[in-house]
């Protein structure tokens, strides 16, 4: 089932140059989709179009069966499709963690007792329960971003967009966010769309979309996308470390499988390769 459907989607900021130009795009429900692209490839704009923050210049975006141009459904779309932004400092409204998480349900007019429950559930989901009464500004970047995620989860959305949500974080913070994202997707069954330029994050997705100059140039599961290193590099993207290593080894004449994405997989592949060679020799 498709959660978001876009058709003949075109968008331009100035009226002449199309920043996004996509004939057809579906985002499947319950899946984790990663959108990759170098700076200025239109990936953030696409995310804003798909979540209804921006309205298309022409064409149509349907989110959860609501057309994004339908003003009467504005808050229904917001509610079903949350977005976590890049800078955690700029999306936290309140000074105390639990009050910030409560912001969205308060806006939606939910009764106080239920808000309290929602806040506790959401803080638990991002593993921030013990910080519920802390000041937001004293938290680390990763913790702030997890509060921001909890704030979005509190709307009980069916889909969450991550617009380079890890770009401003240190490696530890990035790991925290990635595990939180994984949890949302796998345990809570929330559709996740993450916009990123960290390849290691895209590797974890079910589907990878690569954008270049506003168009979708590659679309498939991570294994098939990362099996085409030359093409990816042509779009200004780096490869995941392991894939890059294998790519160079292959160039040097080693016959290793393509589309290896994880360190452990790579270790196994190399082990098999070495074993195979030894067997052939003996």
């Amino acid at each position: 089932m498709n959660f978001i459907e876009a058709e003949n989607l075109k968008f331009s900021y100035d009226g002449t140059n199309n920043v996004v130009d996509i004939p057809k795009l579906f985002i499947e429900k319950g899946k984790h989709t990663a959108i990759l692209g170098h700076n200025g490839s239109g990936k953030s704009t696409l995310a804003k179009l798909l979540s209804g923050i921006l309205l298309p210049t022409s064409g149509k975006v349907v989110v959860n069966s609501y057309d994004t141009t339908d003003e009467s459904k504005f808050y229904d779309i917001r509610k079903s499709c949350g977005m976590v932004f890049q800078n955690p400092d700029n999306q936290i409204v309140a000074s105390v963690v639990e009050e910030d998480v409560a912001f969205a349900p308060e806006n939606l007019g939910i009764i106080p007792v239920r808000i309290r429950e929602i806040v506790e559930e959401c803080l638990f989901a991002v593993n921030m329960t013990e910080y519920s009464r802390h000041s937001t500004y004293k938290l680390s970047g990763g913790q702030k971003q997890r509060v921001a995620i909890a704030g979005i989860l509190a709307m009980q959305p069916e889909c969450v967009f991550f617009d380079e949500a890890t770009a401003m974080l240190d490696p530890i913070g990035r790991k925290e966010i990635m595990s939180a994202v994984d949890r949302l997707n796998k345990e809570l069954g929330i559709t996740v769309v993450s916009i990123t330029h960290y390849m290691n994050e895209a590797v974890e997705a079910d589907r990878v979309i690569v954008m270049n100059k506003g168009e979708i140039v590659m679309d498939g599961d991570p294994v098939s996308v990362f099996s085409m290193p030359e093409e990816l590099q042509g779009y200004g993207l780096a490869l995941p470390q392991v894939t890059e290593l294998f790519y160079h080894l292959e160039k040097d004449g080693y016959k290793l499988p393509r589309g290896v994405l994880h360190t452990m997989q790579a270790a196994d592949a190399i082990e098999n390769y070495v074993k195979g060679k030894n067997d052939a020799r003996s």
């Binding site: 979540s51 923050i53 808050y75 917001r78 509610k79 949350g82 977005m83 932004f85 800078n87 400092d89 700029n90 999306q91 936290i92 409204v93 309140a94 000074s95 105390v96 639990e98 009050e99 409560a102 912001f103 969205a104 349900p105 308060e106 806006n107 939606l108 007019g109 939910i110 009764i111 106080p112 808000i115 309290r116 806040v119 009464r133 802390h134 000041s135 937001t136 500004y137 921001a148 704030g151 979005i152 709307m155």
Partner: protein
């Protein structure tokens, strides 16, 4: 330097004062201010000091933080004390040297004033900012002023603005610090030169600060919209404000304190104003 400002900060906790209804706290703070200025005799004043000390103890806020909060006001405190010592004349002359005449009354009123200022600052910051989260505080104000809504005063909008302003104070302080360091690294000099030069040296700090504040505002507005913010209409609150017995006990304590001060004003050991 800037990170030392504790003004307007909130220190989470679970003390009696933290748990008191913010609306009560707001009104009681006004009472407390009146109380400080009502104490006229030294005995009554001693009571006010004890009262303030017990507030500090009850709030469980460390003395270090409170002293830190007083630090930016040291100059004003000393200044007013000095003016009082030299300007106020009375009957008992203590020092008479050239044109300097210091009277016992002057010293007494200086001591009173200094203590009053300290009580004023610590008392209000404990009762309001240190123990009340900004959201609670602005919520309480919104509710206290809600009758004004009938007069088309945008009470909710003001309280939302306050919430966000308070939330961004530490963020912007941090940012100012960063910009200052960056400008210093480029050779900017903020410490020497005439006042005009120093004010001019602030321009390269203020411009980036404003630009980034506008960018933040833009981002925040989008994030708030994404979280379904639609203004005050139909909004609910996680923390319901219901007066509970504790609030009435606290109020009773304040009323008793009032009576005690009025009574002790009749008693004087050495001085009264």
């Amino acid at each position: 330097m800037l990170s030392e400002i504790t003004l307007g900060q909130y220190f989470p906790g679970n003390s009696v004062i933290h748990r008191t209804d913010p609306r009560f706290k707001f009104v009681l703070t006004i009472f407390y201010l009146v109380l400080i200025f009502m104490a006229k005799s030294d005995v009554a004043f001693l009571f006010v000091l004890l009262f303030t000390a017990s507030i500090i103890l009850l709030s469980r806020i460390s003395l270090k933080l409170i002293l830190k909060g007083l630090k930016p006001l040291v100059f004003i405190i000393i200044f007013t004390a000095v003016i009082n010592i030299f300007w106020i004349s009375g009957e008992t002359l203590l020092v008479d040297f050239w044109i300097i005449k210091i009277y016992a009354e002057g010293i007494a009123s200086a001591v009173f004033l200094v203590l009053r200022l300290i009580c004023l600052i610590t008392g209000t910051s404990i009762l309001i900012s240190y123990t009340t989260s900004p959201v609670e505080l602005t919520d309480a104000m919104e509710r206290l002023f809600s009758p004004l809504k009938k007069l088309k005063v945008p009470v909710h909008d003001f309280s939302m603005m306050m919430t966000i302003a308070l939330r961004f104070i530490p963020t912007l302080i941090e940012e100012t610090d960063k910009i200052m360091s960056a400008q210093k690294a480029r050779g900017a000099d903020f410490e020497s030169g005439s006042i005009i030069r120093r004010v001019k040296a602030m321009i390269p700090i203020l411009i980036p600060l404003f630009v980034s504040a506008f960018r933040r505002a833009d981002d925040l507005a989008q994030a708030m919209e994404c979280r379904c913010y639609m203004g005050g209409e139909g909004r609910t609150r996680m923390k319901e404000m219901k007066a509970n017995p504790l609030d009435f006990i606290v109020t009773a304590v304040m009323v008793v304190a009032f009576a005690v001060v009025l009574l002790l004003n009749q008693l004087t050991i050495a001085f009264s104003i």
